[in-house]
Amino acid sequence: HGSPGAAVPVKQCPSACQCEEDGILLLVDCSEQGLSSVPTDLSPLTSYLDLSMNNISEIQPNAFRNLHFLSELRLSGNHLRHIPGPMLQGLYNLKVLMLQNNQLERLPSEDPWELPNLLSLRLDANLIMEVPARTLSGMRSLRHLWLDDNALTEIPVSALNDLSSLQAMTLALNRITLIPDYAFRNLSNLVVLHLHNNMIRTLGQNCFEGLHSLETLELNFNDLQEFPVAIRTLAKLQELGFHNNNIKAIPERAFVGNPLLQTIHFYENPIQFVGRSAFQFLPKLHTLSLNGATEIREFPDLKGTTSLQVLTLTRAGLTSLPYDLCHLLPKLKVLELSHNVIEELPSFYHCTSLQEIGLQHNLIKQIEMNTFQQLGSLRSLDLSWNSINSIHPDAFFSLQSLIKLDLTGNRLSNLPMTGLTSLTHLKLKGNMALSRSFGLEDFPNIRVIEMPYAYQCCVFGGCSSYRSASQWEEQMGSEEEDFQKKSPSLFPIHTDNNYDLDLEEFQLAIEESKLQTSIQCTPIPGPFKPCDNLFD
């Protein structure tokens, strides 16, 4: 190694490094070489220098002084504690500086880094407790800033004031407890702001003022006690997350200032009250999930929110649904309303895209002819644990895609068969008045079936000769065990927000390929559950 500052042959490659020419410039990779200092014989034509994952704890003065062409400098994964301003002097063309995964505790304040063309600065995974006011003043072109996974206890408001070009910033995984008013006043170009995994308990009413371009805001995994009303100034917001907080209510007109919202993730909050108008006028929202908001009595007023594809509203106190539900939500694919107290159903006639309906654990008594009419895409219908005592003969007439029907725990004495030929999964357990027998021809594609009585399984289990109970149990038991282990829940109704149709089809295809040969019918006939129909 030559002495610092000594003339270096234009294209020399330091011994421990690998070099590659990029036109007249040089790409130098010295990563993971066990280096304890910056090579002193770096070519002045170095445009890319990777010193990551070494043992460098200090940078010699003038280490980069001649590297006027340096565009990207990687120092991540070393043991750097402090980088005074002069260390980075002369890097006028630097665009990317990676300092993540070091032990930086302080950032220079009196003599800040002069990096006028820097675009991306990575300071994540260090030990930084504060960002002094002038630290970032020499980086006015900065667009992307990573300060996540540090020890910040407050938003570096003064330091951020200089960064009007900033477009993306993460302050996640710190110890921030409060966002003061006007914290991001000058960040008019900021598009993405991550604040997840802090301890934010309080938001200033005007804390997001100035963020005119913000599209993504993440406040997940904090300690917010109240709905972040400060979001009302974020007119460009498209993606909002505040799941895993401590919010108990969503107020009326909660998102009136955010007409472009596409996703709102707020699960894992003890939400009890939701204003009826909370989710109005969100024409781009495609998923809405509310679980356990017990104070909801009425279906939300979704005026102007016309693109919903997934609506989940479970464990609340809904007693009825709007008759014009499908006029309001014509694009609905998944409707999950389990664990309410719904007694009557409207016609879902205009919800032609519906693929999945979950109405289990309600108080429904009847299914009319037009309730599920024209739902040609419906694949899964869960009506279990209601009080259904009658279903119109043509109720399932047009459901040519229906493969899963769950009527467990109702009061049926008969089952209309029209329209059920494509079923692969049928559950009727608990309908003790349903004693009729069925035939294989009724369900040519059936794979899994649960009947009220064992004798109803005989026609599916092929039990022409009587088998001793042990033999029977043994053979079915191993198959049943096998089945339980492999198969996902039969009706994987998705209650969280990232519902994925492809995954479910993929799981179903796996199951079908294995079950091609046998039909699983329960309860399994045996010595105490004979094959003959005792009611005849």
Binding site: S52, M53, S76, N101, A125, D149, Q167, A168, V191, V192
Partner: protein
């Protein structure tokens, strides 16, 4: 210690690995490093990195740091929806890759951006 559980060990692991297996490389990483799954034929090999490779971005959470794929049009990104550098043929503007630039801006082939 380096208790062998079905081939999992913390002894002899490469670079930033915490635990590894002969067949799948790194299974967990040392604190603050990202785990990235590389494909090797039918196998997935875990490696531990201080920054994710091109085409991936890092997500940090209290118990795990992962490399996640960027959007298809993106060479390097900040998160799934915000690009830092676009693939050939499109130009970057405020985190989006565009085939043509918004009014008032023109495409720069050297910078691969709308300027």
């Amino acid at each position: 210690g380096n208790k062998q559980v079905s081939g999992v060990s913390s002894q002899g692991c490469q670079g930033g690995c915490q635990t590894c297996s002969v067949y799948n490389g790194c299974l967990t990483c040392k604190p603050k490093l990202f785990i990235h799954l590389e494909r090797d034929g039918m196998r997935q090999i875990g490696v531990c990195l201080a920054s994710c490779p091109n085409g991936f971005y890092g997500t940090r959470s209290p118990d795990r740091n992962d490399c996640i794929k960027c959007g298809s049009e993106c060479d390097s990104c900040f998160n799934r929806n915000f690009c830092l550098r676009c693939r050939a043929g499109s130009y970057l503007h405020k985190g989006k890759c565009m085939e043509s630039c918004p009014d008032g801006l023109v495409p720069s082939d050297t910078k691969k951006e709308c300027v």
